[in-house]
């Protein structure tokens, strides 16, 4: 019986530690990201990119982009690069519009001068990410 209690205790402690390790504080990345919007862009939305320590392979948001406006989406995390976070933009028919994985490199931002008003899907995926954690912001200008 003692052994059983000990085993259950180990499981409980391990799962608690895993939760702490996997915690992703996206707020700090978002706060760092907002000032990086280029001059003239107005902040609209922030997005949490929390891959739950690797258990999620995709995080998706959507937004109605308006014809005539230019949108800028930035990815931020602790380092200089994107830590394997790839942003892909799809139109309302789920046709790919753009991806930050472009010609062999992974970029950290997209600028999109919209010509068709509609719902766009902003998708974040992870490729060889270490933290599966980041923040992203959306801004616009006319």
């Amino acid at each position: 019986m003692k052994k059983l209690i000990f085993a259950l205790g180990i499981i409980f402690v391990t799962s608690s530690i895993n939760q702490v390790v996997a915690q992703c504080n996206t707020d700090q990345y978002i706060e760092a990201c907002i000032p990086k919007l280029q001059e003239g862009f107005t902040f609209l939305k922030s997005y949490n990119i929390d891959g739950a320590g690797g258990s999620k392979n995709k995080v998706e948001y959507s937004y109605v982009f308006t014809k005539g406006a230019t949108y800028q989406i930035l990815i931020c995390n602790g380092g200089q690069g994107t830590d394997g976070i790839v942003l892909t933009l799809y139109d309302s028919n789920r046709k790919q519009v753009a991806s930050t994985k472009y010609e062999g490199s992974t970029l950290s931002a997209i600028a999109f001068p919209c010509q068709v008003t509609g719902i766009y899907y902003i998708t974040y995926t992870f490729e060889n990410s270490t933290n599966y954690c980041g923040g992203s912001v959306l801004g616009f200008k006319r």
């Binding site: 609209l44 959507s62 109605v64 005539g68 970029l107 997209i110």
Partner: protein
């Protein structure tokens, strides 16, 4: 020993039920509130997904400024009207309306007017127990100097985003939906007014026509609550009539592959697709008329 084991397993299960965190008192009370009003059949997650799609009313205000139309306070809802709003339903709608008005004053750098709207917003937000998201001292300080426009826009946008996220986390999405509906309708009202005064400005008419896409989302969101809330049911019926007018408009899209270039580490997309809005002046007039009617009901 048996009792100890059962207790220990009980604790493990208690934690296992919520792997993220323990529920706070606020969350518990939010859940209890939602029980009282009966949750919609659709999941909160789906509602959240639709809510986040609705564009910020700031985009329309920005367009009006870019089109060099003059600032006109008469288009806005008088902050003095706040005494008309005596239920959570009316307060949430009015909060959305005033939020759009605040954005309009901010975009035009009319900081004195912005202060009146801030006071009205803070008062409504307090009544709805979401006043904690407005650091009114900081906002007022920013509003006293027109050089702080960017910071003011940023902080107020963040505040409204936080309110929406909070309401959804507290399972009070019905209020979030009302806030967004009021805000969207006010933006549509303002652009309708400006368009009526500038009948030759085709871009403004197109902006009204394009709202068809958002109209569908707003009508869908309201429809989730019509069974449980008679006020929302009444509002949804009006929006449904407005949607019928929007349905007379057709948006045609021609898709073409985008092209790209990299500038300073950023992927710059060239969107080669195009769209055409097929509508008549009569369509726009009918939409305007209906928007004025609904807006009048909301603010009075």
């Amino acid at each position: 020993m048996k009792n100890t084991l059962i207790g220990f397993i009980g604790i493990i299960f208690l934690f296992a039920c919520d792997s993220k965190k323990k529920p706070s008192a606020d969350e518990i009370s939010g859940v209890l509130d939602s029980v009282k009003i009966e949750e919609p059949a659709i999941s909160e997650e789906v509602i959240s997904d639709i809510i986040q799609q609705i564009p910020s009313p700031l985009e329309i205000s920005s367009l009006l400024k870019e089109a060099e139309t003059k600032y006109d306070k008469s288009h806005l809802n008088d902050p003095e009207n706040i005494s008309n709003y005596n239920s959570n339903f009316k307060k949430a709608l009015a909060l959305g309306v005033y939020g759009t008005d605040l954005g309009y004053t901010n975009i035009y750098g009319q900081n004195q007017d912005a202060l009146f709207y801030l006071n009205a917003i803070k008062s409504l937000a307090d009544d709805l127990s979401i006043g904690q998201f407005f650091d009114i001292g900081t906002i007022k300080r920013l509003a006293t100097n027109s050089k702080n426009l960017d910071s003011l826009l940023l902080i107020t946008t963040k505040n409204f985003n936080s309110i929406n996220a909070y309401l959804q986390s507290q399972k009070r999405s019905n209020l979030s939906v009302l806030l967004l509906s009021g805000g969207w309708l006010e933006a549509l009202y303002i652009v309708s007014q400006v368009s009526e005064k500038n009948p030759n400005n085709q871009q403004l008419k197109e902006t009204i026509g394009e709202q068809k896409i958002i109209m569908d989302n707003v009508a869908l969101l309201l429809s989730f609550y019509t069974d449980n809330d008679p006020n929302i049911k009444d509002l949804a019926e009006h929006f449904s009539q407005l949607q019928a007018e929007f349905n007379k408009i057709e948006i045609k899209t021609v898709y073409r592959e985008p092209t790209y270039e990299v500038v300073d580490g950023m992927l710059v997309v060239k969107d080669n697709s195009s769209s055409e809005i097929i509508m008549t002046d009569e369509n726009i007039d009918s939409i305007r008329k209906m928007v004025y009617e609904i807006r009048n009901k909301i603010i009075n």
